[in-house]
Symmetry: C2
Subunit: 128 residues, 2 copies
DNA sequence: AACAATAATGATAATTGTTACTATTATTAT
DNA sequence: ATAATAATAGTAACAATTATCATTATTGTT
C-alpha cells in the first residue's frame, strides 16, 4: 500500500468490522471504536471506511435505507435486507456468475459484475 | 387514490419521467419540469416523487452514487450502472425469479424479492 | 536515539441530498 | 358559488458525508 501508514484508529475500525456480522453504519462503527478510543473522530471513521473500501479490504453496502453499511468480509457475497426491522444479513450462497451472462444478452456494453440485495422477512421478525 | 388530488406539477413530473430513458435524479427532474413550470419548487418534486414511488407508479433506484434516481416504468426490471460515466441503462431481460429460490436455500427467513444492479462499461464508453 | 518527511488525526466547518413547516393557492365535490 | 381539503412555493431544518487545517503519529534514515 503505497503512501499508506499504519494507524491505531484504522486498525481498531478493521478489528471491529471483522468482529461483527451486523453490517454497521459509519455511525455505529464510530460508537463502537469509541469504546476503546474515546476521542476518535467521526471524520476519521469516514475517512478510513472510504480508504478501506477503495482498497478492497472491506465492502460498502448501499441498501437505500439512509446510510451506507460496511462489511469486514471483502469477498463478494450476497445480502438480505429485512423489510420489517431493517437488519442486513449475509446469505451463504454461491456466486451467481450466470446472471451476468443473462444480462449481457442483447446488451452492447460489457458486464463486469453485479450487486444483489434480497428482501423479505428475517428469521427473527418471522417468529415474533 | 383516496385523498389524492390532481396537480399540474405532479402530472408534469410523470410526463417527464415517461418521456425519458435516462433515470433522472430529483434534481434533474426539477430542472426539466422547470422548463414548462418555471416556479415549481424542488420540495414539490421530492414530495411527488416519493408519493408516486410509494403508490408504485414509478420506480426509485438507489445505485449508491449519491442521489436516488427514478424510472417512469414501474414494471420491475433490471438496470446497469456504467463504472465509467455513471449512466444507468435498462436491461431487456426476463425476471430472474429463480435466484430467490437459490437465496432461500439454508435461510430461515422469507425471501420476497430482490434488486439487482449490474455494472461494467456502457456501449458509449466502450467505443470512445 | 534524534531527525526529517509525510501520512493521519481530531475538531470543526462546509456541502449535499432530502424532508419539514407554513401561509397561500388549486382542485374537487356539493 | 361555496366549502373542504389537498397541493403548492418558498424557506428553514435536517442527516449523512466530505473538506479544511493545525497538530500528532508513523516510518525510513542517519
Amino acid at each position: 500500500m503505497a503512501g499508506v501508514k499504519f494507524s491505531r484508529q484504522r486498525q481498531a475500525i478493521i478489528d471491529y468490522l471483522c468482529s461483527t456480522k451486523e453490517h454497521p453504519t459509519a455511525e455505529t462503527v464510530y460508537t463502537n471504536v469509541r469504546i476503546n478510543y474515546p476521542n476518535v473522530s467521526l471524520g476519521t471513521v469516514y475517512r478510513n471506511l472510504n480508504l478501506l473500501a477503495d482498497e478492497g479490504e472491506i465492502l460498502r453496502l448501499t441498501c437505500g435505507d439512509g446510510s451506507d453499511r460496511f462489511d469486514g468480509n471483502p469477498k463478494p457475497h450476497y445480502h438480505f435486507l429485512c423489510n420489517n426491522c431493517g437488519r442486513v444479513i449475509d446469505l451463504d450462497i454461491e456466486p451467481m456468475n450466470h446472471i451476468d451472462v443473462l444480462a449481457a444478452a442483447g446488451f452492447d456494453g460489457t458486464i463486469e459484475g453485479h450487486t444483489v440485495l434480497f428482501n423479505g422477512t428475517c428469521p427473527k421478525c418471522k417468529t415474533s
